[in-house]
């Protein structure tokens, strides 16, 4: 159990290192892409070319991805700082967000289903 926890912590620190590397590349290259996405691509390539072994990151990555919602909680609490989100404008904003999210999700899902079915019929 204790070894497991130590492993997870070391792996998260390792992932943090890759993030910092991604941040550095983003800064130097002036790409409009955040360091976290560059870090993700780097890690993917490193795994693909066997520079990084899966077991070096598997446990830490598993914990971070499965508890992802936790990392959004402080920002969600932070919404209280914004007066704009309450009152009439707040209701309008939330209405737009809800309607637009429904349309986006429905379109994305329908297109994905449609393309897959079309592909399946050809085979």
């Amino acid at each position: 159990m204790r070894i497991q926890i130590a492993k997870i912590i070391v792996q998260i620190i390792f992932l943090y290192g890759i993030l910092l590397l991604g941040d550095g590349i983003a800064k130097v290259s002036h790409l409009p892409i955040p360091g976290s996405i560059i870090g993700l691509v780097l890690l993917f390539l490193a795994l693909q070319f066997h520079i990084v072994k899966l077991e070096w990151v598997n446990l830490g990555a598993g914990l971070l991805t499965s508890e992802l919602l936790l990392f959004f909680v402080p920002s969600a609490v932070g919404v209280v700082q914004y007066d704009q989100i309450v009152g009439i404008i707040g209701i309008k904003l939330v209405t737009v967000i809800v309607l637009s999210t429904i349309v986006v999700m429905a379109c994305t899902g329908l297109v994905a289903d449609f393309v897959q079915k079309k592909g399946a019929k050809k085979v």
């Binding site: 992932l15 976290s36 795994l47 830490g60 909680v73 904003l93 209405t95 986006v104 297109v111």
Partner: protein
């Protein structure tokens, strides 16, 4: 870290784990830990007269883990790479559609309901992951901090509405379920997708990343056109 900061950090984790437990037991969509946990914390801050700054001095360490967590999504993508490659067409087509619809629908609904231009520009990038959404907001003339708030509201909304949409319009394939959650509600949707299954989660992770990249391109090319024709 101050004492309040330390308590905030540990307390957030404990309240989060408890809300997750309650959510699993009741299995009520509205009890999403992302809704319940912040509400409980807000109530506690109000009761104890603690400011958000004091709370966030410790809790911010949790927000900082969002960075390595994003990097960590390389792992499920790596594990399922062959499958993702096989469905590249469906992924590409649905995400380009999703990104375009996200921009157009936010824009039109916001115009229709009568929001100011600055608010509209802050709303448009809301369905993608925070750092990129804030950058795009800046580029197209929005207010990045407002955008960050809209991103979280979208995540919350999407993780609650997403499963209902899947049921209502009868989405069948794992790919479509994952893609719509990741496209519509970034990391929050992805977390929901992993609840449905490993495969759905992987598609959702990919959707979250690819959608962000497509949005960068669209907000530079397609969005200025919309602005030009609709606001003038």
């Amino acid at each position: 870290m101050s004492f309040i900061g330390f308590v905030s950090f540990i307390g957030t984790i404990i309240i989060f784990l408890l809300s997750k437990k309650v959510y699993r037991k009741m299995n009520w969509i509205i009890l999403s830990p992302l809704l319940i946990c912040p509400l409980i914390i807000i109530a506690l801050l109000l009761i104890t007269h603690t400011s958000y700054e004091d709370y966030n001095s410790g809790a911010t360490w949790l927000s900082k883990l969002l960075g390595p967590a994003t990097v960590a999504f390389a792992v499920p993508i790596y594990k399922n790479y062959a499958l993702l490659k096989e469905h590249a067409k469906a992924i590409g087509a649905s995400l380009i559609t999703g990104c375009a619809v996200a921009i157009i629908s936010s824009f039109l609904f916001a115009l229709w309901i009568g929001l100011s231009n600055e608010l509209i520009n802050s709303l448009v990038p809301r369905s993608i992951t925070t750092p990129i959404a804030m950058d795009i907001s800046e580029i197209i003339g929005g207010e990045p901090t407002m955008t960050a708030v809209f991103v979280i509201v979208t995540g919350l909304t999407g993780s609650i509405i997403g499963p209902l949409i899947i049921r209502y319009i009868r989405i069948r394939t794992s790919a479509a379920k994952g893609l719509l959650l990741g496209m519509g509600a970034h990391g929050c949707g992805t977390s929901k997708a992993f609840e449905i299954g490993e495969l759905e989660g992987t598609y959702s992770s990919l959707a979250m990343i690819v959608a962000a990249l497509i949005s960068i391109v669209l907000s530079d090319t397609f969005f200025p056109l919309l602005q030009h024709y609709l606001i003038g």
